[in-house]
Symmetry: C2
Subunit: 268 residues, 2 copies
């Protein structure tokens, strides 16, 4: 059966869609059959990125790897309970349809608390939570006492993941491999970077996630959106001018991340 | 009557709460009486930042400027139409209560499409929309044809602002001064930075916003969250080691932004 990777973080702009896109390309290039569901029904950043990719492919006459897509429409029913049941049915059907033809299914979640996001989280074999190098982002995982630098308790997003794990256990499904990925990290080793890292180490054993090697703040991770490409689609750069060194380093960061995700049969 | 400044962008992590906090401190330091409403009812990043600030104040025995707060509870009514009317009433009451005692009211919105966010936008005299230096963020304002680099049409967030302007006009209220602020800009002048800037110039006249000087990617803008401080609260650094130069530059960026916001009586 297909391995489901969910990209989740209620904190906006933490890098869910960006890491989802890069993980997709990394897996596809190893020959995995990948499916994708975008649960961010308003922004649809992942679908938009993939739409740009398809347009680039056809216009340039190149054959870029693209995932099998399943469209999800949110329910417009004014009755909240009815809307939720409707969405659960649509989601389950989409997931089953993709599972028949894919080894891996990627699910991108919105930076908000929605019924569809909850459904996505409960379907996760692997949950990837990217986060900015910031205590503002940290605050959605757990509260920190600023004087003792001690964790004072879990926050809304950690509780949401806890709920999803409970639902999975009740449904007899396997555990969620929860992987936190630091994103948009500054290239220099600032105090703030070290402090956030230390607090994440503390928190990981407490709320049950592991930390995978993260991605630095690099323009290459965001400047190819309009073409639908990622740096992995570009020809391997030679050791050359400074910009190529950043690309080499960026590729290495993506490889390191994939190697730590432990996706069965991923080739990393 | 109070001048209402709304921080809005449906795109998550664009910097709404961060710029809201810095604009608050900048105005408060000029003696303005500032009120604040956090419409991000799940994350409550602005309220959390201010809570940290109050705790720091009392614990350190210092007198940090804090805004007058109005708490907003979302409606739990399962009937969506009823819930929206309930929230509109709560919001109007909170706004009126603050307007009696404040010159300026700051409203922070969630990185999502919510009823409360729409209410906030319709109350805006000034709408500040921070955005990352990225076509991923741009995509929520407008679609771009990747080949011609032409704007092909407005996206969900631009349409939402359009709706809010219509509602205000129908209610006989004044226009919204819509100000886009580039945030987390790279310090070097990359191709991507120039392209995003050029497309924003194109878009501004088309959908009716102006562009204010933005903020660079600087750790000082995010590393003081736990203490509830901003760099404006720190003593003016002397010309000294490298880190102080970044603080001097950061202060200048905030001042430039405030000078361009044209908040009546703001002192900038
Ligand atoms: N490692 C990185 N380096 C540079 N820019 C990045 C990086 N990761 C993400 N970005 C940029 O940061 C912004 C936020 O990223 P992204 O949209 O992927 O986050 P998200 O969590 O999906 O946001 P949302 O909550 O809105 O869905 C985008 O403008 C993106 O291009
Ligand atoms: N100019 C900046 N320099 C460095 N870091 C920044 C800057 N602006 C914002 N950040 C960091 O970027 C992240 C997103 O910022 P912020 O939370 O203010 O955005 P937001 O638009 O309020 O997000 P949301 O949509 O989740 O409400 C936070 O971790 C914040 O600390
Ligand atoms: Mg996204
Ligand atoms: Mg916010």
């Amino acid at each position: 059966r297909a391995h489901v990777i969910v990209f989740g973080n209620e904190k906006g702009g933490s890098g869910k869609s960006t890491t989802a896109m890069h993980v997709f390309v990394a897996l596809a290039r190893k020959g995995r059959r990948v499916g994708a569901i975008d649960l961010d029904v308003r922004q649809r950043s992942l679908y938009r990125y993939l739409e740009n990719r398809r347009n680039w492919s056809s216009r340039k006459g190149v054959n870029l790897l693209t995932p099998l897509l399943a469209e999800i429409r949110p329910s417009l029913d004014p009755d909240r309970a009815k809307a939720w049941r409707e969405e659960a049915a649509v989601f389950d059907e989409a997931l089953e349809r993709l599972a028949e033809q894919c080894d891996v299914i990627i699910i991108d979640c919105p930076g908000a608390h929605s019924n569809l996001s909850r459904l996505g989280h409960s379907a996760a074999d692997t949950l990837i939570t990217p986060m900015n190098d910031s205590f503002v982002d940290f605050d959605l995982l757990a509260r920190i006492d600023p004087y003792s630098y001690q964790i004072s308790g879990p926050s809304v997003y950690a509780e949401m993941v806890w709920e999803s794990r409970k639902l999975r256990a009740q449904a007899g499904l396997g555990p969620i491999d929860w992987v936190v990925v630091r994103n948009r990290m500054p290239l220099d080793d600032a105090n703030n970077k070290r402090r956030v890292g230390a607090m994440l180490e503390q928190l990981s054993s407490r709320i049950g996630f592991r930390i995978a090697p993260g991605l630095s703040e690099r323009t290459i991770f965001r400047e190819l959106f309009l073409s639908g490409l990622t740096l992995l689609d570009l020809r391997e750069p030679n050791a050359g001018p400074a910009v190529d060194m950043s690309h080499v380093a960026a590729r290495q960061e993506v490889r390191e991340l994939l190697a730590h995700l432990n996706i069965p049969g991923s080739g990393y």
